[in-house]
Amino acid sequence: MSAHATQEAPNDWDFPAFAGDHEHHEPSFIRKYIFSTDHKMIAKQFLAVSLFFLAAGGTLALMMRWQLAFPGQPMPVVDFLPSTMAPGGIILPEFYNAMVTMHGTFMIFFAIMPLLVGVFGNLLIPLQIGAGDMAFPRLNMWSFWLAVPAGLLMLASFAVEGGAAGAGWTAYAPLSADGEYTGVYLGQQLWLASLFILGFSSIAGAVNYITTVINMRAPGLTWLRLPLTVWALFITAILVLLAIPILAGALIMLLTDQTLGTTFFLPETGGEPLLWQHLFWFFGHPEVYILILPAFGIVSEVLANGARKPIFGYTAMVLAIVAIAFLGWIVWGHHMFMSGMNPVLGTTFMFSTMVIAVPSAIKVFNWLGTLWGGNIHFHVPFLHAAAFVSLFIIGGLSGIFMASTPVDIHIHDTYFIVAHLHYVLFGGSLFAIFAGITYWYPKMFGRMMNSLWNRIHFVGTFIFYNLAFFPMHGLGLEGMMRRLYDPTQYGWLAELQPWNVFITYSVFFLVGFQVIFFVNFILSMWTGREAGPNPWNANSLEWSIPSPPPHGNFQTIPVVYRGAYEYSVPGHERDFLLQNEPPDDAAKRRPEPAQRVDPSGQVKDRGGDQ
C-alpha cells in the first residue's frame, strides 16, 4: 500500500544523501562518528557500548563464580578492589549481591537488549527495506545518546557510598524500596534513574523502527516479502513501545518510595509489595520476548542462507512471532507462582504459559524444516545459528517444567531457573547475536572476520557454555537456591560443591574463549579480507549495495520483486536471487537498475557522491 505510493512519488526528501547530492559535503568528525544521524553509525555506536557492557557483565559473572566455587577465598589477580567490595580480594556478601544485581542489569538492559534491538534494529531495518535511513534520524541519534548517560549512571553506582544496587535485577520491594534493608541508598536510586533514562532511549528507537517499517519500505516490498529479521524487529519495537512505559511508571513509584516517603510498595503504611512484582513482570515478560524475537529473526535469516533453501513456512514463522507477542502479555504471573498471589491466578497463568510454548515449537520445527533437503554451507554465522536451535530447544523444554505450577514449587528460585534463563538468553539470544555479528560484520565494516579464529571461538563457546550451564539444572533439582553468596552454608548444598567448582572452571574457559572473539572483532577491521557487496550470496536488499553502504545506502530506491528467501530457485543459474534482481522478462523491458552492484566489488570510491 504505502510501498506503491512510494513508487509513484519517489520521496527524495526522505533520503538526505540524494536530496543533497549537489550540496553534500564530508561531515565533520563529530557529525560522522559522535553525533551521527546515520543509522549504520548509530548501530556501530550501540555495538561498541553493548559489547563493553557484555564484557563488564561477564567479568562480574567470573567474580561471582569464583565466590561460589571457593567461598571466602581471596580472588587471584583481582586483589585491588576497595575494602567495601572485596578487601584483599575476598568478596563481601553485600558486594556479591551488588554483582548479582548488576550482572543481570548489565546483560539484560545494556548488552543483550541494545545488541539485538539497538544494533540490528538500526543496522538492518533501513538496509533491508531499501530505505536511506530511519524515518527520524535525529531522534535515532538521541536514542543512542540517552543510552550513554544511563550506562554511565549505572556504572557510577558502584562508586557511591553503600555501593551498587543489591536487590537483584528484579528489584523486589520492599528490599529495594527502603535502604534500611540493604544498606544501599544512592546506589539503588541511581539504578532506578538509569533504567528510567534508558527507557526513553528504547522508546525513541521503537517509534523510529515502527514508523520506518510502516512507511519506508521500497516499492514492491510487501509485508509478506519482508525478511524475518524486519518482522521480528518490527514486532519487538511494538512490544518495547508498550512495555517500557509500564516499567517507567513502576520505577518512578519505587524511586518516590525511596526518596519522597511514599509507600506504594511498603506494607507497614498500607503499601503492597506484590504490586511491584505485578508491574515489573507485566513489563518483564514482554521484555523476555524483546530479548528473543530479534534472535529468531537473525537465526531464520542465517539458517536459510546456510542451507541455501527458502525458509520453511514463512507465513507460519510470521504468525508465530505475532502470536508470541500477543501471548507474551498474559503470562507474567508465572514469575509469581510462589509469591502469595491467589492460587487460582496461578492456574490461569499456567494455562497461558503452557500455550505460549506452541509458537516457539512451531519456530523450531520450521527451522528444522529449513535444513531438511538443503545444501548446507557451514559458515561461521550458520554454526552459531544451528547451535542456537539446539540450545533454544533445551531452554524451551526446561521452561515446561516451571510452567507446571506443582513442579515449579520445587524448582522456583533455584539454579534450575538460572539454567533455563541462561539457555534462553545466552544459548539463545547471545548465540544469535554471534551469528548476527559474524554475518553482518562485512556489511558493517567492509571486511570479513577471521574465519579460523571465529570457528575456534565457536567450538570453545559451545562446549564450555554447555559444561557451565547444563549441570545447573541438576543443582536446581537438588534444591540449590539462586543468588546465594555462599552455598556451603547449607548442609545439603555443601555436598554439591564439586559441581560448583566444575561450573566455575567451565565459566573461566567460556570467558577465555570470548577474548578470542573480541580480539578477532577488533583486528579484523584492519586485517580482514575485503568482503565485497555480497559475501554470503544472500538475497535481501543490503547485499545488493557496497559494504559498507555509503551514506544514504541506495543510489536509487530499489524495486523489490520477491521475498528474501529465494534460494536455489530451479532454472536460475545461481543458488541465490536478490530481492531486487528483475525477473528475466522484466529485465528485457527495464534498464538495469542503478543499484546493481559493480561486479568488481569496488566499493570504496564513490567519487563526488560522498
Binding site: P267, S339, V364, L368, L371, W372, I376, A386, A403
Partner: protein
Amino acid sequence: MNWLLEPSVSTFGPEIDRLYYIILVITGIVFFITQFLLVYFLIKYRKREGRTAAYTHGSTRAEILWTAVPFVVVLMLALISKPVWDEIKDPALFPEDAYEVTVVARQFEWEAQYAGSNGEFDADDSFTVLNRLHVPVNQPVIVHLESADVIHSFFVPRFRLKQDALPGRSIPMWFEVTEPGEYELGCAELCGLGHYRMDGLVIVHTEEEFEAWKAERLAAAGGGVTGTERAQAMTGEESR
C-alpha cells in the same frame, strides 16, 4: 548430574515428583527427536558439489500437525497439573484436622510461634523457637507464614514445599510429613546480605515425642519468660 529427585517425605511430594517425571519423559523424547533430526540434517545435507537444495516453501499439513500436537500435549500437562496445585495451594482444600503454627521470617532468621495450652498464640504459655520448626509426623500442619521486613521464601526441598513470606500478609501453607527426622529449611528469595545463611531445620517428631516436647516447652514458657511477657515488660503493662 542427576535427573532423579531425592525421595520426598511429604504426602503431596510424590504427586509433584510424578508430574516432574511425566514432563521429564515427554520433554526428553522431544529433546532426543529434535536434536537427532538437527544433527542428522546437518550431516546428511552438508554441502556437496553438484547438489542442489530442495526448492520448497513449506507444507501446510506439516504446520497444522506441529501446531496441533504440541498444543494438545501442553494442554494435557496443564490439566494434570491443576488438581495437584489446588491440593497443595488452595486454602479451601486444606486438611481440617491440622496442627497450626505461625512462622515469622525476618532478616535473617525464622521464628516459629507456637500456641499456648489453650490454643491461643498470645497465651501466657505460648512460646517461640528460633530457626527450628518442630512438627508432628503423619499429621497435617498448617503454617501461617509472615514476614517482619522483606520478602523471604520458605523452602524445604525434601517436602517439595516453597512459599514466599510477604510483609503485611499472613499466607497459609500446609504439609504433612511421612517420616520423622530433621529436614533442612532455606530461604529461596534474595532478602539481603545474610540471605545465604538463613538456614533452619524442620524437626519432625513422632506423635508421642512431639507431645512430650510441646509439654516441656509449654511448662517452661508458662513459668519462664515468654515472648508475650517480654512484650508486656517492655510496655510496662500488667496482665490479668
